[in-house]
């Protein structure tokens, strides 16, 4: 019967069926109530955030549409009589054209190579190196130690999966990256701080991809410059942005690098325990988050969320205590320091009195929020 009520609300019943159902509704109060409830539910479900495509998307699509409307070669061929005979001629002509094209390409490549200066240090570096090295000589060199660490830790793997879901599919990764780069605003952003940080790290992690290294370098340089500007703006340069930047492993000051690595190691150690222990009542939300198999850098964001969700009830379970520890090891999580201190004071006290046997709690003593 519910199916018929749904169909009635959607106007999918035939005339006879609808008349019959309306007669039944007239005499059946329970059925009417059921109909009212379904109508309320559908009304609620129609609410929700709506989005509109960007003007830039419209411009790109319409440009493509205009470019595609010229009658295609295929259409012209189909219109010609004597199709079979023509196809034979076309086949020969295409082969001749293809061979000619390959021969010309080879010749041009050889000539071009002959005119190049020898490879060596005197060659001008690509823009990627120039703009990034000005900011942080070691960390943003494409072949530098920092990038090697990123790759070794599998950030690229996680981000590729998370952003594109295309592990191991080089062409689609490349297509996605190009799509991202096409969306970069003049200020270097990819929409917002978080998205820019994600994309910047993806660009870094894809350093050994064979796609347009110069374009990638420029996009990355602009993205990083955008993040630096955002982090330094008085109104936006709060702990949230700083935390985001650290979350995505693109902190800018070399002296923070070791702290960052330490933080990541701590998170790595904590995650399995979160999964094992976060099963009690108040840790349910965290358990669900931990069960999501978050990439390590994002686990801290999840832990922060757990803190926010728990509000003042922090530390009432081992799971949230561990989450607090995980978050503390980052130092900055986008919460007001006073709030954080208030929530975390019991944990600090326990650690300092030795009552907290969990060695992870000792991490709190190294955090900027020490009390």
């Amino acid at each position: 019967m519910r199916q018929e009520l749904i169909d009635l609300l959607r106007g999918e019943l035939g005339e006879g069926e609808e008349r019959e159902l309306r007669e039944r509704l007239g005499s059946d109060a329970t059925l009417r109530q059921e109909l009212d409830e379904l109508a309320s539910l559908l009304g609620l479900l129609r609410r929700g955030e709506e989005i509109a495509p960007l003007p830039a998307t419209r411009a790109r699509v319409l440009a493509a549409a205009r470019g595609a409307v010229a009658p295609s070669l295929g259409a012209r061929l189909r219109a010609l009589p004597g199709l079979v005979a023509f196809r034979m001629r076309r086949s020969v002509a295409f082969r001749v054209a293809a061979v000619s094209l390959v021969a010309h390409s080879l010749l041009m490549a050889i000539l071009y190579r002959m005119t190049l200066p020898p490879l060596g240090p005197e060659r001008e570096p690509p823009p990627f190196d120039v703009s990034i090295q000005e900011k942080a000589p070691e960390r943003f060199t494409p072949d530098g130690e920092f990038v090697r660490r990123l790759r070794a830790r599998g950030y690229g793997h996680h981000l590729r999966l998370g952003l594109y879901g295309v592990e191991g599919q080089g062409r689609r990764i490349q297509s996605s990256m190009e799509s991202w780069m096409a969306r970069q605003a003049p200020d270097g952003s990819f929409g917002d701080v978080e998205r820019t940080a994600q994309v910047a790290l993806a660009l870094l992690a894809e350093g050994d991809c064979s796609m347009h290294a110069t374009r990638r370098g420029r996009a990355l340089a602009a993205a990083v410059a955008f993040l630096i500007r955002e982090a330094s703006r008085p109104e936006a340069g709060d702990a949230t942005i700083a935390a985001l930047i650290e979350d995505y492993a693109i902190a800018f000051e070399p002296r923070r690098q070791e702290a960052l690595v330490g933080h990541l190691r701590a998170i790595d150690r904590i995650l399995p325990r979160l999964r094992a222990e976060a099963i009690d009542g108040e840790g349910v939300a965290l358990a669900k988050m931990a069960g999501l198999e978050l990439p390590p850098a994002l686990a801290a964001v999840a832990a922060r969320s757990a803190l926010l969700a728990d509000r003042g009830r922090l530390l009432s379970s081992p799971a949230t205590r561990l989450a607090a520890t995980a978050v503390l090891s980052k130092g900055q999580i986008g919460l007001e320091p006073a709030t954080l201190r208030e929530w975390l004071r019991p944990l600090f006290s326990a650690a300092m009195e030795g009552a907290e046997s969990d060695p992870l709690a000792l991490l709190t003593l190294q955090a900027p929020y020490r009390l």
Binding site: I6, L41, L44, A65, A70, L161, G165, R183
Partner: protein
Amino acid sequence: MPASNRELMVAYQQGDPEAFAILYDRHSRALANYFYKMCYDRALAEDLVQETWLRVIRSRDRYEPKATFRTFLFTVATNLYIDRHRSRKSAPKMVSADLPAREEGATIGDLIESRDRAPGDKVDDREAAALVQQALQQLPEGQREVFLLAESQGLKYREISEILGIPVGTVKSRMNAAITQLRGMLGRALG
């Protein structure tokens, strides 16, 4: 009298780009919201909208006026979504630092439980939107796409059946199952 979608698509097939522009303006918002409610990822939805239209452009010669344009459009869109998004299912899910904490990880039940609301209180619009988003995300994908095509896009069962390539009976049963689940998840929030 404004031209029908079908007439516009035929005009575009014959080389009129302005006809295509009208089609784009008529349907892009609906398309964007369909994708957005399927994945709740603005950037991905934007990419999918663009790619759908590019596929429409590429396959314009295959459009036959006997099919309604919306069915054609959403068939392209749905196939694209299947291609692009379902491969993400095995990927680790990401959380966004910009989302309020209550939108991350918690179930509808958790969200409702967490509100200190008197039994008769109803949720406001923003809360309702957040609850609906959570509820839709928890639906199995097959049910969600049927529900969104039916309720968000106002497509008929027969059109959905054509778009998804499944029998009308299956469309109906998925719709029924989706509403039953949504009702279970949201029933208490309705007050």
